[in-house]
Amino acid sequence: MATTTTAARTKVPPRRRQVGTAGVLFIAPFMALFLLLFLAPLGYAAYLSLFQEKLIGGSTFVGLDNYTTALKDPQLLKGIGRVALFFVIQVPVMLLLALCFALALDSGLLRLARVIRLGIFVPYAVPSVIATLMWGYLYGPDFGPFAQISHDLHLPAPHFLSGSWMLGSLANIVTWEFVGYNMIILYAALRTIPGELYEAAAMDGAGAWRIAWSIKLPALRPALTLTLLFSVIGSFQLFNEPSLLMKVAPDVIDSSYTANLYAYSVAFISQQTNYAATVSFILGLVIVIVSYAFLLTANRRRTA
């Protein structure tokens, strides 16, 4: 092997160029579609957001007018505020649970570990539409088992679908769907920590908690950053769960309950194309800013 590589190195110059071209050819199909399906819609949204449809005169350039309207739009702000609240509460709970489960699985203290691991992961393979339908029925006051059990015990049934419970009920569905997915990412990262590290720590007299804190958690940082990033993106574009529960509880969830529901209703119900583009653009921007903020703090902490 060594001889072939040195032989190759002697005639590199003409090859190198050819090889570089091949690299471009490998990425070309992806990049072409990426430009068409990622950058073009983004650019188009940015373009549309600068115009307004007027009754007289058709489409007119209005500069940043749509943005000033959007930033003062109480429905959009309410939607963004609600998903931000959802994010602040649901994501830490979900990631903490995922972390606990991953550490428990990795500890080697569990019986039936394989079954437990797959069982917790299974909800990820269930479409969120179906997850929401199932939980919607489970929450239901008519034939939901929780209501049935409370009824049999002559207790007041919990109002999962009422205004004060709804955000929690949604958080429960999202947590149910994604804890397992996050757990698997963290667990997979834990499995790659070399065993010698544990042995060395044990020699130094470190207990299980100390090992978890000083070895496992630092090693999990990239994986945790990744799960956090996906959670930011997921929470801020919350749509499926509230839009389906809206049909069960129309007086609790309105068309601007989350920012994404609002974008949808502006685009497809009130058909304000330009404003819908503005709202999507702002929503995308919010997500990118929040994600960047998290990545920056994660990186700073690592280098510090």
């Binding site: 092997m1 590589t5 032989a7 050819q18 071209t21 690299g23 471009v24 050819l25 490998f26 990425i27 199909p29 992806f30 579609l33 399906l37 990622f38 983004l42 188009y44 949204a45 549309l48 203290l109 569990l110 019986r111 039936l112 079954v115 069982g119 917790i120 299974v122 909800p123 990820y124 393979a125 269930v126 479409p127 969120s128 997850a131 029925y137 008519d142 034939f143 939901g144 088992p145 049935q148 149910w176 397992g180 963290l186 997979a188 499995r191 790659t192 990239p222 990033l229 993106i233 574009q237 749509f239 389906l244 994404n260 949808y264 685009a267 583009a277 999507s280 929503l283 995308g284 997500i287």
Partner: protein
């Protein structure tokens, strides 16, 4: 950062010989913790509860759904007739939805994985002008939410006359920035440079090296990307919801939610049988993906380890 060799399966995933696994179990048997196991079984019960409910509910008529206890069978289980009714309702549109889903998700997942594999390999093994800039551009796109893109994409597709065709759902699903990221770091470790050099010496072209050597080494990473894009497109609701308005083109998610809306509007529910169909249809539709994950778990779990460890 810790480096992993993806080709070496992680300890738990490695196919151990039975003897090996046995001795490992014996040596650690005394350390197993019963309280922790019980706590985790309680956790498991929470995750399986809705699925258990769904299984029970699929055996019931709409009337029994209302009149019997949710977590146990009614007096007259009728799973088979529910399944039959699901597939015959509205001229068998449910079967069509399933086929559509398989088509959309299958084509999208395979296409996305191949595109990501080729590009990931290209980024991992070649250097060219704009290499870093192009990769960072894609990496930044991981943060762009697909639903924020969906409305502008819809507006563009409407101009191009693509709305309400299968392409409207498949095309946007072909690009997976996270898949590309995963394939790049996977290819860096899984395809040794020396092997590529050796193949070049033997006169193989770059494309041939990729298809005959690299793709094989990339298989576990590829399975991971296929599975996760498969789930993403199989479960996608927002995109097909806005792109399609012909019920014959619906995937299962949009179709079932339209049935669920009908069942909701049916008022008391007991009069129409729609609710039982929604429940049975939900059960049938989750079986394929759950099976895929169970059968392929060895591959995707080791493939995922790469993405979570490196950065």
């Amino acid at each position: 950062m810790t480096t992993v060799t993806p080709t070496a399966p992680t300890p738990s995933e490695a196919k151990q010989s039975p003897a090996e696994a046995g001795s490992k179990r014996r040596s650690s048997a005394r350390r197993r913790s019963t309280p922790l196991t019980i706590a985790m079984l309680a956790v498991l019960a929470y995750f399986l509860l809705p699925l258990f409910w769904l299984l029970i509910a699929s055996t019931k008529s709409t009337q029994d759904l209302f009149n019997s206890f949710g977590l146990w069978f009614s007096h007259a289980p009728q799973l088979l007739s529910n399944i039959e009714a699901t597939f015959t309702q509205d001229d068998g549109v449910y079967g069509r939805w399933l086929l559509n889903t398989v088509l959309y998700a299958g084509v999208s997942a395979l296409g996305a994985a191949l595109l990501a594999a080729a590009a990931g390999y290209g980024f991992a093994k070649y250097r060219f002008r704009g290499h870093g800039a192009a990769f960072n551009l894609v990496l930044g796109a991981i943060m762009i939410p697909t639903t924020a893109l969906a409305i502008p994409t819809y507006l563009l597709f409407a101009k191009a006359g693509l709305v309400n065709t299968p392409w409207a759902v498949i095309l946007p699903s072909l690009i997976s920035p996270f898949g590309l990221y995963l394939m790049r770091i996977y290819a860096e470790d899984a395809v040794p440079d020396s092997l590529i050099e050796a193949a070049r010496m033997d006169g193989a072209g770059e494309f041939r090296i990729f298809t005959t050597i690299a793709l094989r080494l990339l298989a576990p990473g590829l399975v991971t990307v296929v599975l996760f894009t498969l789930v993403a497109t199989w479960n996608n609701y927002f995109l097909p919801l806005i792109m399609l308005n012909d019920p014959n083109l619906y995937p299962i998610t949009v179709g079932l939610s339209s049935w669920a809306a009908q069942a909701q509007n049916g008022g008391a529910g007991a009069s129409s049988d729609m609710l039982a169909l929604v429940v049975t249809g939900s059960l049938i539709s989750i079986i394929p993906l759950v099976l895929a994950f169970l059968l392929l778990q060895r591959y995707w779990q080791s493939g995922l380890a790469t993405g979570g460890v490196k950065q």
